[in-house]
């Protein structure tokens, strides 16, 4: 595969998200980005990004209505196209979510649940702000990123019941939760790398360079 083809990234527009900063940061990493709502472009994509902001139920509803769900499943599960889910995009890859109480894309064996904090004066929900991601094992996504690097989070829901083989990083907010996944061609991060200064840029660069 030529280098230009491997750097082509298709960003799936789920209808509610903020795509500009992600697109800009991917371009800074020399990716050739296309934003699409069209399942046909996903069917011919060589690398996918599922971006970030919004409501799980609303996003799934939109993608189900347009046939995007099948297109993504086919690309990722049958063709083995590398996919990066960011924030809500990572959650969408799960089997189901408590947000909107509905099924997800089912790319990985996990569920999405709401934060259930004990100390609600100290740990407000959503979890907003900078936090560390502790990387548990060798990771292509976190390659070259400092162990104490912090990432920017904004979320009320998180991954749970995650298969050990899939989870690659976790963060602590009253308790530990899975904040990054990596399994074969499937990658996800609960934080916003596009808004996480240098560590975030490095992570996106790693994905572009896969």
């Amino acid at each position: 595969m030529s280098s230009s083809a491997s750097h082509a990234i298709t960003i799936v527009d789920c209808g509610t998200g903020n795509l500009h900063s992600l697109q800009r940061q991917l371009r800074n990493s020399h990716a050739d980005t296309t934003v699409t709502k069209d399942p046909a472009s996903v069917r011919s994509a060589t690398k996918l990004v599922l971006p970030g902001v919004g409501h799980f139920g609303t996003a799934m509803e939109r993608m189900r209505a347009t046939g995007m769900v099948e297109a993504i499943r086919e690309a990722v599960l049958e063709r083995g196209v590398p996919v990066l889910g960011v924030c809500l995009g990572m959650q969408l890859m799960a089997r189901k979510s408590a947000e909107g109480d509905c099924e997800g894309l089912g790319l990985v064996d996990a569920e999405v649940v709401r934060f259930s904090v004990k100390d609600s004066l100290r740990y407000k929900v959503p979890h907003v702000g900078w936090n560390r991601i502790r990387v548990r094992r060798q990771s292509r996504l976190f390659d070259g990123i400092a162990e104490d690097a912090e990432f920017y989070f904004v979320h009320s829901f998180h991954f749970a019941a995650v298969d050990e083989a899939i989870a690659v990083g976790d963060s602590r907010y009253d308790y530990e939760f899975t904040s990054a996944i990596e399994h074969g061609n499937i990658f996800g991060i609960q934080a916003h790398p596009e808004k996480s200064h240098d560590a975030g840029s490095k992570l996106l660069e790693n994905f572009v360079g896969l």
Partner: protein, 252 residues
């Protein structure tokens, strides 16, 4: 630590008690400087939008979001779902609702269910009345309402707001410290993050708001743009290590 920047006629201003405004510079330049300081995040509010019956200009949202390497929340005159959609499409991470949240709490509920709670921030401008009672105000602090800040905060949480910015109108621009009593009252009444705003003059003020008033994060205007007793304009950002809890990092 969150710098709050006020937009007026395409430039940035800083007010005192919501009144006299000093010009403090160009917004794009300010964003570049805060990038270099690795600021935690920014809040940008168009202070004339509601009164002039418009919303924050999309080209401003677009150009600043493109430049920023940290999250920016935008506010100013936002009152419809379509406006939020276009502001997010232009690059905002989150939107800040003010007057619309006060007048139509159901709009906050609709916005949260469409865009997710994490995207919706409500900013309340609070004045302390003669006998010490707090009341939420709107239209740049000129109109009072009958809402107490703790109850209003609770109501906003029930509607699905993901965060509250609690701004003391009386402390605005004074650099005399946050209204700790106000911040604590709201923090205790809700389980969503509360950001203290109004009065910060030092990192010590910020530490107090976080440690004793349970603010999840601390925001300021003057402290980041003025320098010295004569209030010369110089954008700065304290070393996060000077705060025990860096910014509002959720970790331990």
């Amino acid at each position: 630590m969150i710098p709050v920047l006020l937009l007026r006629n395409g430039g940035l201003v800083k007010t005192t008690r919501f009144g006299a405004a000093a010009y403090v510079g160009d917004p794009l330049n300010a964003v570049r400087i805060f990038n270099n300081f690795r600021a935690d995040e920014l809040v940008l509010l168009d202070v004339d939008a509601t009164r002039e019956g418009r919303t924050i200009p999309l080209e401003v949202v677009r150009s600043l979001s493109e430049e920023a390497r940290m999250p920016i929340s935008f506010g100013g005159g936002i009152g419809t779902i379509e406006q939020i959609r276009s502001i997010i499409a232009a690059g905002a991470e989150r939107v800040v609702l003010g007057s619309a949240a006060l007048e139509r709490p159901s709009f906050v509920a609709e916005a949260a269910s469409t865009f997710g709670s994490s995207t919706i921030v409500v900013c309340m401008d609070v004045r302390r009345e003669v006998f010490g009672r707090y009341r939420v105000t709107h239209l740049n602090g000129t109109k009072r309402t009958d809402h107490g800040p703790a109850d209003f905060g609770k109501r906003m949480e029930e509607c699905g707001a993901g965060e509250l910015i609690v701004q003391s109108v009386d402390r605005d621009g004074t650099m005399s410290g946050y209204d700790l009593e106000l911040v604590e009252a709201v923090s205790r009444s809700v389980t969503i993050p509360v950001v203290a705003l109004g009065g910060a003059g030092s990192v010590d003020d910020m530490r107090k708001a976080h440690e004793s008033s349970h603010a999840s994060a601390v925001a300021a205007g003057s402290m980041f743009v003025f320098h010295g007793s004569r209030r010369g304009v110089l954008i700065s950002y304290p070393d996060p290590r000077t705060l025990a809890n860096p910014g509002r990092s959720g970790g331990d």
